[in-house]
Symmetry: C2
Subunit: 316 residues, 2 copies
């Protein structure tokens, strides 16, 4: 006799990379009696249904969350408030409501006011993803050996937190609990600033072509075609990061503004110091710094966070 | 009856990642009758000899290049001038001398004055590498499907250029010819600036721990341990790039100073615009920019430069 699934009915709101991966992982690990889905976009609903990702797909979000004991908002963080408002009147007491966004303070602020009594809001964030988007991009293994961070507000129901933690562990994640504000500062440096910088350098490189159009061909201009052609020297890794979902990242930067601007300020100071060292031919300072940064990589490898596929190429 | 190898004797000066990869690739593809090696570091010479990378290993650089018809300086670019000076009196007429450095203008400036009449200096740069260093890091496939750029000075011997191009093609590379100044500008944006930024952000993240030491534990500080733990959100990709050889990179930044500072200036402008868009909640500007950068990734994939191992994980 097999064990009863962890949840009777899970409702996944938003069927992108994370939503579809959750559907796969829930099914593969037998974590729900029924998986209901909703997406605001009719085309996505149709594609997700065609893929058989969920047991029932609903055009009306109220139908998706009806009788669910776990509701997961897997939308861009900017949409979480609207989701909370739309489901508010249709949640049964005891339901756990969570999300998967990369910003937690703003999500709590947007969702908490709409939670009825007896419904448990436990925001969460699986630190996992790829540069691909949409219902076709998901896979069951996405969360395996990755951290999932839960940020329960003060006074959150302990049983609800424990049950949600068990859900993530069953999909292979390590679960960490921290407060929302700290989460947002940690992610600002480990994820948001790296993405911001990757988007920016890809933009800088793309602008070179516009120059070509504006100038005479006699100038020594570097074209985007050349940038792409010789991208194995380092640039290509940034293009991968900068290919992530535009809506998701717009929301992240706007909703974690303070922490992102703080980390960006620190980075800019360090970059200016680097610029000064180059300008003044301070080779010792550069050498010392590059030796220090090398050791950080060792830490990442030792922590098992270097990526599942060993990516041996880089370039010089 | 097998064809005669392309070169009778190749001398590889500097047995790091690139030197050892050249040794492997030369041997696997039967490109030399004899492979001679030299490294200024006795420990490296010993390790390379123990690995059987070369047919003869020489403590004296003059012995390594004696009777060679191809000499490859595979040292950090800052050492190329010293290499040229040391081998100058020991080169036979007709010998091709090349290098593998990521900066070409400075290499020509440092090496050309030491080349005797009848010796052909044809600087080169395989746009390939990994974050690993040393004689153990090399492998024969490193140059396959990567671009190797040759930057022959004006009036270079055409036959020598063609023969060196054939050598690179035989190891699987696509060969491109361009002038040194243009090479240095292209690499400044495709490789040098990305590395500079990666080194800097890893430095920014590492400094957070120092803060922890300085402050009381009650503050909401982010520790390096946390940065490493949650690095799957994007940061880890930068740590890989920032793990590259410190000597090599110090030399690159100092010797391609003008182009690096120019590209860095452009990047800083774009970063400031990004900062301003975030501060003023200009979501439309961010969304539009992120949509543009996404298309560049498509170009990299279509150009076949996205990396040999598909690396599907990124993070949010």
């Amino acid at each position: 006799m097999s064990k009863a699934p962890l949840f009777e009915r899970i409702a996944i709101i938003g069927i992108g990379l994370i939503g579809s991966s959750l559907a796969h992982a829930t099914r593969v690990n037998g974590l729900a009696g029924h998986i209901a889905g909703h997406d605001a976009d009719a085309d996505i609903r149709e594609r997700a249904a065609a893929l058989g990702l969920v047991d029932s797909m609903h055009a009306d979000i109220a139908d998706a969350v009806a009788n669910a004991d776990l509701v997961i908002a897997a939308t861009p963080v900017g949409a979480c408030g609207d989701v909370a408002r739309a489901i508010s009147d249709h949640l049964a007491p005891g339901t756990i409501v969570t999300d998967v966004g990369s910003v937690k303070g703003a999500v709590i602020e947007a969702m908490a006011p709409h939670m009825p009594d007896g419904v448990h809001l436990v925001p969460g964030h699986p630190v996992a993803g790829t540069e691909h988007s949409g219902p076709e991009a998901g896979f069951a293994e996405l969360f395996r050996d990755r951290f999932s961070i839960l940020t329960p507000p003060a006074g959150a129901n302990e049983e609800a937190v424990a049950r949600l933690a068990e859900f993530w562990r069953a999909m292979g994640s390590d679960v960490e609990i921290m407060d929302a504000e700290h989460h947002d500062r940690v992610l600002a440096i480990t994820s948001h600033l790296p993405h911001l910088i990757a988007f920016t350098i890809v933009e800088t490189a793309s602008e070179l072509e516009t120059e070509l159009e504006a100038k005479s061909r006699d100038d020594d201009v570097v074209t985007t075609r050349e940038v792409i052609k010789y991208s194995a020297g380092g640039f290509r890794d940034f293009t991968r990061i900068a290919a992530s979902d535009p809506t998701m990242w717009r929301d992240v930067f706007l909703l974690n503004k303070d922490a992102v601007l703080e980390m960006l300020g620190r980075f800019t100071e360090d970059l200016t110091a680097m610029q000064r060292a180059i300008r003044h031919d301070d080779g010792d300072a550069l050498f010392e710094l590059f030796t220090r940064t090398r050791n950080v990589r060792r830490g990442v490898i030792e922590a098992g966070q270097a990526g599942r596929f060993q990516y041996t190429e880089n370039g010089d």
